[in-house]
Amino acid sequence: MNMRKKGEKPFRFSWRDLGVTIAILAAVSGIALLLWNFDGSDVFAPMLFVTAVFLIARYTDGYLYGVIGAAVSVVAVNFIFTYPYFAFNFTLSGYPITFISLFVTSVMTSTMTTRIKNQEKLRLEAEKEKTRANLLRAVSHDLRTPLTSIMGTATALIENGDKFTREQETRLLTESRDDAEWLLRMVENLLSVTRINGEGASLREEEEAAEEIVGEAVMKFHKRFPSSEVAVSVPEELLMIPMDAILIEQVIINLLENAVIHGGREDGISLSLTRSGDRALFTVEDHGKGIPENRLPRLFEGTLPGEDSDGSDSSRNMGIGLAVCHTIVKAHGGEMTAENKKEGGARVAFALPLEKRSI
C-alpha cells in the first residue's frame, strides 16, 4: 500500500538523486572539455550528453532529474560545445532538435525504469500479502478449537459442577489451561509477525550473547514441558549476534515445542549452537516421528492444518509456528532449513549472521 505512494510520485525531491545528477553531468562535462581541448572537434559533445541524460534517468527515481539533466545538457551543448562557442545558437538545427532528442531520451528512460522498479515492488508486496493471508486463514481456523473447548468446560462446570468427581474436574480444568496457554502462544506468534510486517516497523536489533538467549529459551521451554529432556551445547567461544532477542528466543522455543508435540517424544531432544564461518548455527534435533514427507516442501509457508488425513489435534500449530520462525529468521538476514534425519527424527536449523548487516 505504501509503495504506491512512494513509487508513483514522479517529482519527489531527494538529495541522493540530486547528487547523482550533478556527478554525472560534471563527469561528462569534464570529459567533453578534455576532448575538446585535445583535438578541437565538437561532434562527440551531443552524444556524450545523450549518454549522460540516459544514465541520470536510469539511476534516479522519477522524472525530475532526467528532465533537469536534459535541460542542463541542452544549455551546455548549445552554449559551450557547438559553434559559436560560448554563445547561444537559436537556429533550427542547433536548439530544438538537440532539446527534443534529449528530452525524449530522458522521459522514455525514466518511464521504463520507474515501471520496472514498481513491478518489482508489487511482486514483493503480493508475496508478503499471500503469506499473511495464508497465516490468517490458518490461525483463525486454529483458534476455534481451543476456544470451543474452554467455553464448553466452563459451561459444564458452572451448570453441572456438583456431578463431577474431583479428578474429572481437575482433568477438565487442566485441559482448559493447556488450551489457553496454547492460544496465548499463538497470539504472541502473531504479534511477532505483525511486528515484522507492520508499517514502518523494524527489528530492534542489539548485540546479544547467543548462549544467554539459548539458556533462557530452554528454561522457558522447561517450564511448559517440565519432564522434557534437552541436551544443550554451546561453543567455548562467546558468540555475540545482532538480533531482536525476544523474537529469536521465540523461534528457539517454537522449534523445541515442535520437537515434543510433533515428534511425539519428550526425550532425546538436542539444541546446539555452533559457529560456521561468519554465521551462528542453531540446530534442534529430535528422535521423534519426523516430518511427513509431503509437508516438507511447503513447511515454512503456513499451510492449512487439517490437510493431513489424520486431522488430529497435534497437527495444529506446526504450520503457523514454523512460518513465524521462518519470517523472523529471514528478517534477521538468516536462513532456515528442515529435514528428516536418516536415523529417524527431524532436524530443524537456522543460521544468523554474526555481523550487523549494512542496509
Binding site: E212, G215, V218, M219, E249
Partner: protein, 234 residues
C-alpha cells in the same frame, strides 16, 4: 508474625485483579485492589500496604509515575507486572525503583516467589541481605565475602576481581533481577554507562567457571533485555 501482610494489587482488568487476589489470599496474605493510578496512590498513603503489585498498563496514570512518587518517601516493595508489549517499560520501571517484575502470563509459584523475595529484601537492613562479611550459599555455590572468593562444590572457582564483584553483587540480591545498568554502575562507576558488552563477556567467563553447562545455567539466570538474576539462597 502478627496479622496478615497486606498486598495492594493495582490492575485495571478486574478479571486479572481478582485472580491475583485469590492467589494471594490462598497463600495467607490480605489482598486489596485498586483499578487506577489515583486510587492506587491514595490506597498506598492511607492503608500502608506491605507490598504493591503494579500493572504497567494503567489507563489513567502512568505506572512509572506511581513508582517515582512512592520512591520519594518509601522503600515499599513494588513488583511490576508487564505484558509482552511493554518489554522496554519494565527496564525503565526497574531503574525508576521497582524491586522486581513479572511478565504476563505467570504462574502462582512464580508470583509468590517474587513477592516473598521483594518482602524479604526490605525487611533486612538497607535492602541488602547479608553484609560484607559471612557467606552466601545456593546449591553447590558458595560466595565467601571475607575471603572474597567463590567456591563451587568446595573448589575455588578462580574468579577475577571483576567477576567476583559481579557474583557477590548478584548474591546479595539473590532472587531479584538486577538490570545491566545497575550492575555496570556498581562495578565501573556511574560514568561507565551504555555499553553492556564488557558485562556480557564477564558473564560468559563467570558461567564457564561456575556453571556445569553455560547454556543451561543453575545459578545465574539471564533476563533477556533486562539483566541477571541469581538463584535464591539455601
Amino acid at each position: 508474625m502478627a496479622g496478615k501482610q497486606k498486598i495492594l494489587v493495582v490492575e485495571d482488568e478486574s478479571s486479572i485483579a481478582s485472580f491475583i487476589s485469590a492467589i494471594l489470599e490462598a497463600n495467607g496474605f490480605e489482598a486489596m485492589t485498586a483499578h487506577g493510578g489515583r486510587e492506587a496512590y491514595s490506597a498506598i498513603t492511607s492503608h500502608c500496604p506491605d507490598a504493591v503489585i503494579l500493572d504497567l498498563g494503567l489507563p489513567d496514570m502512568d505506572g512509572m509515575k506511581i513508582i517515582r512518587a512512592v520512591r520519594e518517601w518509601s522503600t515499599l516493595p513494588i513488583v511490576v507486572v508487564s505484558a509482552r508489549t511493554h518489554e522496554r517499560d519494565k527496564v525503565e520501571a526497574l531503574d525508576a525503583g521497582a524491586d522486581d517484575y513479572i511478565t504476563k502470563p505467570f504462574g502462582t509459584s512464580e508470583l509468590m516467589a517474587r513477592i516473598r523475595t521483594a518482602l524479604r529484601h526490605t525487611h533486612t537492613s538497607g535492602g541488602v541481605a547479608g553484609g560484607d562479611s559471612g557467606t552466601f550459599r545456593t546449591g553447590e555455590l558458595t560466595v565467601d565475602y571475607d575471603k572474597r572468593r567463590v567456591f563451587v562444590s568446595g573448589e575455588d572457582a578462580h574468579l577475577t576481581q571483576n567477576e567476583y564483584k559481579i557474583v557477590s553483587l548478584l548474591s546479595k540480591f539473590a532472587g531479584r533481577v538486577l538490570t545491566y545498568d545497575v550492575i555496570i554502575r556498581e562495578l565501573w562507576g556511574p560514568g561507565a554507562g551504555g555499553d553492556n558488552q564488557i558485562l556480557r563477556v564477564n558473564m560468559a567467563n563467570i558461567r564457564r567457571k561456575i556453571e556445569k553447562n553455560p547454556a543451561a545455567p543453575e545459578y545465574i539466570f539471564t533476563e533477556v533485555g533486562v539483566g541477571y538474576r541469581m538463584r535464591e539462597g539455601n
